[in-house]
């Protein structure tokens, strides 16, 4: 487009200037079922292929577990979806219209993909309440945050999340003082506050007591349906408890996919993973 056309478009009087339009990210289009499409994704680090021509589809509202031995590419997969790592080849779509490879990490988060890290990552210097407030969905621009005031609706929403994750009694404590399990819960709470369409959850029960694990399982299964939940987990008992569909990764590829039972009886899976870890 030449300069003149640019100028004409800019000076149209029936439209707001394009640069003044708030950048609204459309809702993902999921009419065909899947909410995440990964096709032919390859990521290599110094020649080592962390992901090798991987294709994976996550349906809207499903709860998917991804398992695989160490180095299978599980965390890299999450990095690719959330924009932290750019793949060397392949495409990643959120619904049918949003090309995630074109967006920054923050834009991907605003579009509706939330992530929980493997190691619980919370804002240690802030109170539990403020952690949730910062994560809360809404306008996250600089000016807005300078003049933002905590409204009653927002406060109520945060309090209800505090109830859900069982931290209501700790709202005023600094997040750094929480126990490991509590931090995991806080991070899950922050995901809830963000209210994403897709939750990517990396090892949610690491370091949790059996009781906490059970509650986490309940929470995650309860979320599925309204949200799509992708869980990466090592704890096979936990996966058995929540899994509906399981994807097994091995050396950066999808090795098998299906119900827990199908996967467990797949000889290739037994060979690389379950066989050696069955008593886990």
């Amino acid at each position: 487009m030449n300069v003149l056309e640019h100028a004409r478009r800019l000076l149209r009087r029936d439209q707001v200037f394009p640069m003044l339009m708030p950048k609204r990210l459309a809702e993902p289009d999921t009419r065909h079922g899947p909410i995440l499409y990964l096709e032919g994704v390859t990521v290599s680090f110094d020649g080592f292929k962390a992901l090798d021509d991987l294709s994976l589809y996550i349906d809207d509202g499903e709860l998917r577990c991804i398992i695989g031995p160490n180095g299978a590419g599980k965390t890299t997969l999450m990095d690719v979806i959330t924009g932290k790592t750019r793949p060397d080849a392949g495409s990643v779509w959120f619904g049918q219209r949003i090309d995630l490879l074109q967006l920054s990490e923050a834009e991907i988060a605003q579009a509706g993909i939330g992530r929980k890290f493997q190691r619980p990552t919370v804002f240690g210097g802030h109170s539990v309440f403020d952690n949730l407030r910062l994560a809360m969905a809404g306008d996250k621009g600089v000016w807005r945050s300078l003049f933002d005031r905590l409204g009653a609706a927002e406060r109520e929403h945060i309090e209800s999340i505090l109830e859900t994750v069982g931290l209501a009694d700790h709202a005023g404590r600094r997040a750094a003082e929480l126990s490991h399990g509590q931090k995991q819960w806080l991070e899950i709470g922050m995901l809830l506050a963000q209210n994403p369409r897709v939750l990517l959850v990396d090892e949610p029960v690491a370091g949790m007591t059996p009781a906490e694990t059970e509650r986490t399982a309940e929470l995650l299964t309860g979320l599925a349906g309204r949200h799509s939940v992708v869980v990466v987990e090592h704890d096979m008992a936990f996966v058995r408890a929540i899994a509906r569909r399981v994807t097994v990764l091995h050396e950066g590829r999808v090795l098998a996919e299906g119900s827990m039972e199908q996967v467990q009886n797949d000889p290739r899976v037994i060979e690389v993973y379950l066989g050696e870890d069955d008593d886990d």
Binding site: T82, K84, S104, E105, A106, E107, A109, Q110, G114, R115, F117, T121, V122, F123, G124, G125, H126, S127, F129, D130, R133, L134, A135, A137, K140, G141, V142, S145, L146, F147, D148, L150, A171, G172, R174, M190, Q194
Partner: protein
């Protein structure tokens, strides 16, 4: 959960102390006769005004380092740029009173045999123009520098090193006569500001009060920022940058905004400093100045704002005393102070104070 208040107890104390101190200085200087024990000499007034400029500079650094975790080792560059903008105005005010008596050109340009004013010296005969440049030039440099650095995700020690390189490069550039800023002599021999004689006691007092007012306003603005949600995002970036990103905040925008704001505050500090000390030269860009600045903030305590102010005042007072007694030992003492604070008081004097009051920081 109570939201943080703008004027919490330390804020009220600091502003109260500043107002009371300024009042005492004014009374002691203007009303108490010379020779009386309570008389505050004009020399002391100017010295205190200088400390207040340093405190403002420390406040600016605390915003980016203490709150956002960006350790800038080149913040004195913004201070010096603000100072040069003011210095250029003061040079233009000299007029025909220079040694060579040239109506437009400052002395050093006549000495270099220049025929006319370089383009970037135009407009500096107007105070409003110079005052705008005091914030715009440091702000623009911070904007460009920060945009490249933050967009490329340069963080931690690498960022510190390139900020250090930035101020060093500026120092070398300003040393050159061809730059048109007076080379290694810098700008000096100022006569008056806004028509007031710079040597007069009343002008000195006015500059001191302007510095105090600037510090108080900047402190209030900084409090406003750190008590907002914006301030919480800054601290969150310091503690866990990746988490902030995945929560949907454009980290680069926040860093850039606070970096530019901080550079502008530093510019104002420099502009108030120059008429009080009467000279600005390239040594103000020297990396050592930026490092000393970091030490003031570290000694006072990061991420409290008042700690940075207190640290700047205390360390500079100590500097004045010790360089009088033992000039050679000062740098060793400063180094030792920094090591001791880092080892034993990681949160600075503010940390000790808050700890004694039984409140976790």
């Amino acid at each position: 959960m109570r939201p943080p208040v703008l004027l919490d107890r330390p804020a009220r104390w600091l502003l109260g102390a500043l107002a009371a101190g300024a009042l005492l200085v004014v009374l002691g200087n203007a009303l108490v006769p010379q020779g009386h024990a309570l008389h505050v000499s004009t020399y002391t007034v100017t010295l205190l005004g200088k400390y207040l400029c340093y405190a403002l500079l420390a406040l600016a650094l605390d915003l980016v380092w203490g709150y956002c975790g960006i350790l800038s080792l080149g913040h004195a560059a913004f201070f010096a740029l603000g100072g040069y903008a003011m210095g250029m105005y003061l040079m233009r005010q000299i007029g025909t009173r220079g040694v060579y008596g040239h109506p437009v050109l400052p002395d050093f340009m006549v000495f270099l045999g220049w025929e006319e004013l370089p383009w970037y010296w135009h407009g500096f005969d107007q105070f409003w123009f110079a005052a705008a440049m005091v914030v715009l030039v440091p702000g623009a440099l911070a904007l460009v520098f920060g945009w490249f650095a933050f967009r490329s995700r340069v963080t931690g020690v690498y960022l510190s090193i390139i900020t250090q390189a930035l101020t060093f490069a500026l120092m070398l550039a300003f040393f050159r006569n061809e730059m048109g800023f007076g080379g290694n002599n810098g700008l000096t021999d100022f006569k008056d500001i806004l028509g007031f004689d710079l040597q007069a006691d009343a002008t000195r007092l006015g500059l001191f009060l302007a510095s105090a007012a600037a510090l108080a306003s900047a402190y209030l603005l900084a409090r406003r920022i750190v008590t907002s949600k914006f301030g919480q995002v800054l601290v969150a970036i310091r503690d866990s940058e990746a988490r902030v990103r995945f929560a949907g905040y454009e980290v680069e925008h926040f860093k850039l905004w606070i970096f530019v704001f901080s550079a502008m505050l530093a510019g104002v500090a420099g502009a108030l400093y120059v008429p009080q000390v009467g000279i600005i030269n390239p040594s103000e860009f020297s990396p050592l100045n930026s490092i000393e600045l970091v030490i003031w903030v570290a000694v006072g305590g990061r991420a409290t704002l008042w700690g940075a102010v207190a640290g700047a005042l205390l360390v500079n007072y100590a500097k004045t005393v010790f360089t009088g007694l033992l000039p050679e030992a000062w740098l060793f003492l400063l180094g030792a102070l920094f090591v001791l604070v880092t080892l034993f008081l990681p949160k600075g004097l503010a940390g000790v104070f808050l700890h004694r009051k039984g409140r976790p920081t």
